[in-house]
Amino acid sequence: MKTRDITIRAGRSLKKAKARTLLTSLAIAVGAFTITLSLAAGDGGRAYTDQIFSSNADVRELIVTKEQPSAQKGPQKYSENSSNIATPFGSTSVLSQNDIEKIKTVSGVIDVIPNYNPQVKYISGVNQDKYIATITIFSPNVTLEYAAGSISGNLSDNEIILTEEYVQALGYKSSQDSIGKSVIIVADKLSAPITNPESKSYTYTVKAVSSKSGLAFRSQSSLLISEDSAKALYDYANIGTRNYDKFLVAAVRVDNAGDAKIVKDRLTSMGYFAQTAADLLGVINTFINVLQGILLGFGALAILTSVFGIINTQYISVLERTQQIGLMKALGMRRRDVGRLFKLEAAWIGLLGGSIGSGLAYIAGTVANPFISKALDLDDIYLLIFNPLNIVLVIAGLVLVSVVSGILPARKAAKLNPIEALRTE
């Protein structure tokens, strides 16, 4: 008997028992729904963290600190060359200029940029109003979204990237209007005696305005300038103080993302604590994977339950159709084909259940996406990403599971003795 004819007959006998077919399919649909959603959530979550990282971290950059004394036990002995900075988390060892030079010599390292974090007094623009600001060093490898202007390659010295909030505060009509205009940043010399304060103003040209993003952790008050500009500010403000040229963290640039791990190992062996962007991404992705695994487990459990449902339904179907099976065998239908008939029925149930479940998951996810994003303040980023290939695989997998579940009832049907089956009364 041809597969086409068997498939049609299998579909027809399912149509006869509509309620039973639908209910059995719904059990699978629950599993399909859960699995499709958890796959979508996993994909969405990973894509989200990837985006967060490309907006905040540079994969060719390692964040390096001195090995933390908190990792050691008990108070530390004082020594002449130990220098610490008090933080809310305790005393922290800092990187000296010496360390920076040492790290620069490590093979694979292109550049070491100490975290200058220059403290500035205020920023002012066209309306002469003064605002507090945080200055950060621009990295060409961190993806930014621009409201106006754009940067190709690195930022030149004495150029600045404002944020949308500052554009308004500093008195520009629009982001576009601010491009090319000058802003002034004033820094205090920290070592100057309090009775005779010194300060210096620096002028920067607005090169671009970064827009607010659901992905960036960077605060809206953080303005970007080039490394050298930052160093100039830092030097002016800190020279002559105890903490001059001592840094909590430094960014180490490497040639390409693949080298980051090797350089990390080298730095670790030298007694530094280094973290790559991949390390941080890995932590978050592990978390997502565990959550996804739990969800998938629930889905698998639902499918396991539905397997018994299919077996049960198909056994009942075989019993109900004893005479039909007997007749078909008397008419010369082969055992193999009788078995295939029932396995294909199970396959139809799996296809139906898988399609219903995945379809509902897709609809529910698509409808829920904007609400989730709104609730989590993610703007236009969706946390559920439905990959068509995943949906196809889920449905195909469930068809396979159903066929396997149908094997036992199908065998019973195939083994049925036609004489017994056709005996009347």
């Binding site: 027809r12 006869k16 005479q323 010369g332 239908m333 004489i419 009347t424």
Partner: protein
């Protein structure tokens, strides 16, 4: 031609053994109509099952067209049954939920007849039993006589060489039963196929060329046949 030689069949084991057929032999010429006559439990149904390859006896041979069907593989017997034999049962065994068309289509599907060649065969079979206008009706909506006519259509659609009818009129009143009988004997004569009727109805048996009387698993007597 069907040759049955020394067929014996036992059901059950040891103490409960029951000999359904013991050393049964006879020959049916091609194109004949044969009645296997006997009371309930005489072994007549078992004999039909063995002749059609549905059941296997402990000993003996069933030779159809020169081949002993008890010696060939199950796959071959299935193919043989799908192409050369067909059945009519007392309880019709039609699929109530399917249309008449799909009911008649089943043997063609099993015999792997190409889909394009099915329609003409199904239509001519339904026309032969005067159910052409009911082609799209569901089988459950038919009367008893119509159901058995549908079963006849299903039996003849693939032009079998041998047609087995197990109490074909047992569930019908005499008028509708007569219609079925006429259909079967007409088909038997027109197409020169072998018709084997299993019955306990002597009136029906008497319309056949040969009557084989079975009693307690043995051949009681064979009448007719020598024309």
């Amino acid at each position: 031609m069907i040759e049955v030689k020394n067929v014996s069949k036992t059901y059950g084991k040891k103490d409960n053994a029951f000999m359904a057929l013991s050393d049964v032999s006879f020959t049916i010429p091609k194109g004949a109509s044969v009645a296997i006559l006997g009371k309930s439990g005489s072994g007549k149904s078992t004999l039909m099952h063995i002749m059609s390859g549905l059941d296997k006896p402990e000993s003996g041979e069933v030779i159809i067209g020169g081949r002993n069907i008890l010696q060939i593989k199950q796959k071959e017997i299935d193919r043989f049954r799908s192409r050369s034999m067909s059945f009519i049962f007392q309880s019709f065994f039609i699929q109530a939920n399917e249309s008449c068309y799909d009911n008649v289509s089943l043997p063609l599907e099993i015999a792997d007849v190409a889909p394009s060649r099915r329609r003409a065969k199904i239509e001519s079979a339904l026309r032969a039993v005067e159910l052409f206008d009911k082609m799209k009706s569901r089988a459950r909506d038919l009367s008893g006589g119509q159901k058995q006519r549908l079963a006849v259509a299903r039996a003849i659609v693939n032009n079998p060489q041998i047609l087995f009818a197990d109490e074909p009129t047992g569930n019908l009143d005499s008028t509708t039963g007569a219609v079925i009988e006429d259909l079967l004997f007409d088909y038997n004569k027109k197409n020169n196929i072998t018709l084997v009727v299993v019955t306990h109805d002597s009136d029906l048996a008497n319309r056949c060329d040969i009557q084989i009387n079975i009693k307690d698993g043995k051949i009681d007597k064979i009448t007719g046949g020598k024309k």
